[in-house]
């Protein structure tokens, strides 16, 4: 029997995490993501998991990584200013390849900005927020059901690939309540990281394996390995030898290319014959969906390209979806972030931004107007 309930986007992230096997959450209150923490505080003890509200955003990121170093599936959630604070430790998780999931519910910025108003201003921060070249995966759900299923997928990816995964939602999606069928969403399998189980003698925690994802040495299993944020050798110990350092760094970024098929996810609608493609994520993509219907009813061949995996950006899928299109419009609640990437990938196409930073969501009508302008 289907289990249909009304659920909020933030809560769906929490339930998705629990379904994916998350047993540890560390967080810090911040609008508009606090419901994730509240739901985790309620749900985790029921399954014998651990919730802790840490003293600050930095500590909650640290504690989550610490618990993951202990072998648990972990998550934290935050919003703009908190996401900025978490960046250093996020870089640590990327460099040291510690699995973790971060929910970032985007609000108006910069600084304290408009805490209760939606925005999509963290698209670049999610990719490049921490310093240095690093691997990271960013998922962008656009509905409550997707908040659940993309959080599940975030755990699958972080555990499988040992890369931190950010689930990037905007305030509208985070606070949206929709009816979902939890049973239908329940993951059919649980993906858990590969723990080291070979001989401890000569074990290398960052060995170059075929899949470029080294098995994780769980403390207590006898490996006694070293984990550091310094650039390290396969042995886990720091190096400044140029060729070795580069090889070590490149493996962590190359592993995303190797597993691109696993990571990439897009929704493409009505792009086959489209003259104009609306490329967008989150709530703006939903407005885009309505705009496509409206445009089609007016005789304009419009299509929708919606990355569910925003970073690494689904380049091939974008190129395929926009093949016949004359123009691409990128609506987003910022002054133009995703559009930069689309422009970069579609050098010979006419790419147009549609930015909005007034604390209101983009409406389908605004997109229709923009498309009409562009096609004129």
């Amino acid at each position: 029997m289907a289990k249909r309930i009304n659920l909020q986007g933030n809560q769906a992230c929490a339930l998705g995490a629990i379904a994916a096997g998350c047993t540890f959450y560390a967080g810090y209150p911040i609008t508009p993501s606090s419901e994730v923490a509240e739901a985790m505080a309620r749900e985790l003890p029921k399954i014998g998991g651990t919730f802790i509200q840490m003293e600050d955003e930095i500590a909650s990121m640290g504690a989550a990584i610490g618990a993951s170093m202990g072998g648990l599936k972990v998550m934290t959630a935050t919003s703009g200013p908190g996401f900025s604070l978490k960046q250093e430790n996020l870089g640590y998780a990327s460099g040291a390849e510690i699995p973790c999931v971060i929910i970032n519910v985007m609000r108006g910025g910069p600084s304290t900005g408009m805490p209760t108003r939606p925005a999509q201003g963290d698209i670049m921060q999610a990719r490049w927020g921490t310093h240095g070249d690093h691997a990271i995966i960013v998922l962008t759900p656009a509905s409550v059901a997707e908040c659940y299923s993309e959080t599940v997928r975030a755990f699958e990816l972080t555990e499988r690939l040992r890369v931190p995964v950010v689930v990037l939602i905007d305030e509208v999606i985070g606070h949206l309540v929709e009816t979902v069928d939890l049973d239908a969403l329940k993951p059919s399998r649980l993906v858990t990281r590969k723990f080291a189980d070979g001989p401890a003698e000569g074990f290398e925690p960052y060995a170059v394996t075929d899949d470029m994802v080294p098995p994780f040495p769980r403390p207590g299993d006898g490996y006694r390995s070293h984990t550091t944020g310094l650039t390290h050798l396969p042995s886990g110990f720091p190096t400044q030898n140029p060729s070795k350092a580069e090889a070590a760094l490149v493996r962590t970024t190359d592993k995303l290319d190797l597993h691109a098929d696993l990571i990439e996810a897009v929704e493409v609608a009505e792009c086959d014959d489209a003259d104009v493609v609306i490329a967008s994520v989150g709530i703006s993509a939903r407005a885009g969906q309505a705009a496509v219907a409206d445009l089609r009813s007016k005789g304009v061949k419009a299509g929708l390209f919606r990355p569910k995996t925003l970073w690494p950006f689904p380049e091939a899928a974008l190129k395929a979806a926009t093949k016949g299109a004359k123009a691409v419009v990128v609506p987003e609640m910022n002054q133009g972030q995703m559009v930069l990437e689309v422009e970069r990938l579609l050098k010979n196409k006419s790419v147009h931004g549609l930015g909005k930073i007034d604390g209101e969501a983009i409406t389908p009508a605004e997109i229709v107007t923009r498309v009409t302008e562009v096609l004129a």
Binding site: F24, A26, P45, K46, G48, G49, T50, I52, M54, E55, D56, I58, A59, S60, M61, G62, A63, A64, I65, G66, A67, S68, M69, G70, G71, L72, V74, E88, N89, Y92, P217, P219, G220, D221, G222, Y223, R224, S225, H226, T227, T228, G229, L230, F237, P238
Partner: protein
């Protein structure tokens, strides 16, 4: 809950990663002595290396974790206590020891220290206080003695200093103590008691940075610095004597505070059991 006492003679080489030696610390740096005392305490408690987790931050102190033959985690600047909190909650079967420095735990990580004390989660924090940011070339730290020279106090330090042990005590740490490196056996015993304590334990080690801080302030070579640090301490045995034959401003050493507040991990797990019991 702690392992039994080990009678076998302590051999440091059983507890360090020989392939990482010699370590990178400067000649005469007291951190090495503190590390010996720590591992000696671990040995005496009979702690299994596989169950030992050493978490450190950034700075000279932060590098020590790499030399310990255990599960070692060299984390970000100021945050080892935050990482350790997650690790200790996730894995109550591990013995979690944090190695940090005065800059790491009192400046950038001060917030984590006070909340770790308040929370009283079972772990031990060894803070190596050498009064200086050594790794970055010798800048003033929250514990740099007044008027001393550093690269960022070229005319002498004008800021007041932190008393880390008073801070930890006030914040509610279950066990607080201080010792100089010269008293290596006393330090070992103090660390042993700290690790054995069920709750958050904080041990400040007065360590010498000869090469940078000592040189800049004419404090002499390592043996001289160690002896003067020792002379500046007020041993535990004389703490409460009335006829004080010591300098009134001498630092107290030994165990400074102990209270048996509930350990946080156990408290949380009891709540979980209660909730799950109700649910069943």
């Amino acid at each position: 809950m702690k392992d039994s006492v080990n009678e076998a003679e302590f051999q440091i080489n059983d507890y360090i990663r020989l392939d990482q030696m010699p370590h990178f610390l400067c000649p005469g740096c007291g951190h090495g002595i503190a590390l010996r005392a720590l591992l000696w305490a671990v040995h005496e408690l009979g702690i299994d290396k596989d169950k030992l987790a050493v978490v450190s931050g950034i700075g000279c102190s932060g590098r020590l974790s790499a030399y310990v033959d255990a599960n070692s985690f060299h984390t970000t600047h100021g945050r080892p206590l935050a990482f350790a909190t997650g690790l200790a909650l996730a894995r109550p079967d591990l013995h979690v020891i944090v190695i940090t420095g005065d800059g790491d735990s009192l400046a950038i990580g001060g917030n984590h220290l006070i909340h770790a004390c308040r929370r009283n989660l079972n772990m031990t924090c060894m803070m190596l206080n050498n009064e200086i940011y050594g790794m970055t070339g010798g800048q003033v730290s929250p514990t740099t003695t007044s008027n001393r020279y550093t690269t960022t106090t070229p005319a002498g330090n004008t800021e007041p200093v932190f008393d880390a042990c008073a801070l930890a005590t006030a914040a509610g740490a279950g066990f607080v103590g201080r010792e100089v490196t010269m008293q290596v056996t006393g330090l070992k015993n103090l660390l042993r008691d700290a690790i054995a304590h069920d709750g958050f334990s904080f041990v400040e080690v007065i360590s010498d940075c000869t090469e940078i801080y000592g040189r800049k302030n004419d404090l002499g070579v390592s043996p001289e610095m160690m002896l003067s640090q020792k002379a500046g301490m007020r041993p535990e045995a004389y703490r409460n004597t009335v006829d004080v034959p010591f300098k009134p401003n001498a630092l107290e050493c030994g165990m400074l505070a102990k209270n048996d507040r509930p350990e946080y991990g156990a408290t949380y797990r009891a709540m979980v059991d209660r909730i799950r019991g109700k649910g069943a």
